[in-house]
């Protein structure tokens, strides 16, 4: 159901000043409302600008002038003025102030000392936060590890923006949680995430890349060597490492390798031969092996695999681009004004135009996610 626009609440949302219900309403609305998302990005940009405002240093001359004023009139006289009171009343008043201010400061320091944390629920077995076993529910604080053994599973509430289910034999750590960024580290094992926040708020670091949520649900698995595989079930996820990036749509998967980063995304219904050739192409260091893998990829490609071929256009050597283009054009003819020469020279406008026709670009009006539990 369409809900009222939430543009007035963006600053409060980003500053975490909304109630959990309001927070969730804003997050849900943002997923489905392109207009509000544009406005949200504007407010967030303004907020980032304001954060650059420096604190200036007061001139050295200020205190000497205050001091000089204090010398003209004794401090005690300035403070008490004409309303000086008997010493006993002053002492009582001072004691009350000490008590009140003390209470306020103690309460304030107690709360300000509390680190942000995420609620964790035990699903099975005995998951642990640090060395402490979770009985029922626990809290995962920034810097803490959550670990499951072969017989345990846990569920994490990602603030108010999503949920993560942690499978057996998994090790995750909370790295950051703030209005503009929520970040986990997945060292090994498998987790499933469902995020209903606006894009680019939830990140998962792995040894071979960073998964950035673009409004989605997905499963991410890291093996003992630090390599990972991502399966996207809804929306989009971007995988990145240094200058390599792959955006993976629903129904597709993408592998990453330690020291290399993300490979090329592929739809899960691609043939076995296509997928294994793609893995060879993405991660083999041997040129001949890559060349033969590319031939298999081109030969095995079906209509849905054009997404993979589109990514390969800019990942293959210039001499290999022609056969990739020809197979793509055979499967999904390019739109008007997109020429072979333009694509072979990697004309960005033409590439984007073809991508739009292929309809695998992230859709800003992607359907709302099911907000129920995973």
């Amino acid at each position: 159901m369409f809900t009222r626009h939430v543009t007035r609440k963006f600053s409060a949302y980003l500053h975490e000043e909304l109630s959990p219900e309001e927070n969730r309403r804003v997050a849900e609305h943002l997923i489905g409302c392109n207009r509000c998302r544009v406005e949200f990005e504007r407010v967030r940009f303004g907020m980032r600008l304001a954060q650059q405002l420096p604190i200036m240093t007061a001139p050295q001359s200020v205190w000497p002038e205050i001091d000089a004023a204090l010398r003209k009139e004794p401090v005690t006289q300035m403070i008490t003025g004409r309303r000086s009171r008997p010493a006993t009343r002053l002492a009582i008043a001072a004691s009350i102030i000490v008590l009140l201010v003390g209470s306020v400061l103690i309460i304030r320091s107690f709360f300000s000392g509390a680190q942000p944390s995420w609620a964790v629920a035990r699903l099975e077995g005995t998951p642990r936060i640090g060395s402490r076993a979770i009985v029922g529910e626990g809290n995962l604080r920034v810097g803490q590890w959550l670990e499951t053994d072969a017989g345990s599973r846990a569920q994490i509430d990602v603030g108010t923006i999503g949920q993560v289910e942690v499978d057996p034999n998994t090790r995750v750590r909370l790295l950051e949680t703030k209005p503009t960024e929520h970040r986990l580290e997945l060292a090994r094992g498998r987790m499933s995430a469902r995020v209903w926040a606006p894009p680019r708020l939830f990140f998962v670091n792995t040894p071979s890349g960073i998964a950035e949520d673009l409004g989605c649900a997905y499963t991410l698995e890291v093996d003992d060597d630090g390599n990972s595989i991502l399966h996207v079930t809804s929306g989009w996820v971007s995988l990145q490492l240094t200058n390599r990036e792959s955006s993976v749509p629903a129904g597709a998967a993408c592998a990453t390798r330690r020291g290399i980063g993300p490979g090329t995304p592929y739809f899960e219904d691609a043939s076995e031969g296509f997928r294994s050739a793609l893995a060879k192409f993405d991660f083999s260091a041997d040129k001949m092996s890559k060349d033969s893998a590319l031939k298999i990829i081109i030969g095995e490609a079906h209509a849905r695999d054009v997404m993979t071929l589109w990514y390969l256009l800019s990942r293959v050597d210039a001499s290999e681009r022609g056969p990739v283009y020809d197979r793509m054009a055979e499967l999904v003819p390019p739109p008007e004004a997109v020429t072979r020469a333009g694509i072979l020279s990697l004309n960005q406008q033409m590439l984007e135009r073809w991508k739009e026709k292929l309809a695998f670009a992230p859709n800003p009006n992607s359907p709302k996610l099911n907000l129920k539990k995973i």
């Binding site: 543009t7 007035r8 000043e17 980032r48 420096p54 007061a58 403070i79 309303r83 000490v98 003390g102």
Partner: protein, 202 residues
């Protein structure tokens, strides 16, 4: 021009050295305690005054001095039923308003010559971009109306919550939220051309 990354500036987390014993000592007239109080707040008070008075250094220094003299003369009235910082910033805001009314000074930021004394010490590689970005932000802040500017200053200079800002400005939390929203949008609109030219830390 601004392709380098500007420094990440976290929300100020004010770890105050001022506890109740310092305030009581100030109320007794202890000069060392008053100096401690001054040192703790002087830069933030000065910054808010400076940005409120369109970058007029002399007026901002004058306001800072007035604020602390008022604070000294009125500290006996501080009852502890409000946060000390909230109480102090009410003095700051009122003194700035008085100053604006008195002087009606509106110095443009082109004349703003104090940008080099920022307290932050960024690394060499980002200093230039940060300095330049900071100049643009200050100029844009100066163009905001006082209604929109003050909540932004209290939020980003002092790190106040909406409730604390509302207490200082004597308005509702909803008003604070609305003014901050409008302030952020106005900044984004004025500095929209910086998008894509500068990477601002989260």
């Amino acid at each position: 021009m601004l392709k380098q990354m500007a420094a990440i500036r976290e929300q100020p987390q004010v770890k105050s050295a001022i506890d109740e014993s310092v305030i009581v000592a100030c109320q007794r007239g202890d000069r060392d305690a008053l100096r401690l109080l001054f040192e703790e707040y002087k830069d933030r008070v000065y910054s808010i005054a400076l940005y409120s008075l369109s970058g007029n250094e002399a007026a901002a220094a004058d306001v800072t001095q007035q604020v602390f003299l008022k604070l000294i003369s009125r500290i006996s009235q501080f009852r502890g039923d409000a946060e000390f910082a909230t109480w102090l910033y009410r003095l700051v805001v009122n003194t700035c308003w008085d100053e604006r009314r008195k002087e009606r000074r509106l110095v443009q930021f082109a004349e703003f010559g104090v940008l080099t004394n920022s307290r932050r010490e960024p690394s060499q590689t980002i200093r230039y971009a940060q300095h330049e970005l900071s100049e643009h932000v200050q100029a844009a802040i100066a163009e905001l109306s006082p209604k929109l500017r003050l909540p932004i200053l209290l939020k980003y200079i002092e790190g106040f919550s909406y409730e604390e800002i509302a207490a200082v400005l004597d308005c509702s939390k909803g008003t604070v939220a609305s003014r901050l929203n409008r302030g952020h949008k106005a900044l984004a609109r004025r500095l929209g051309w910086l998008r894509g030219q500068v990477v601002i830390g989260e």
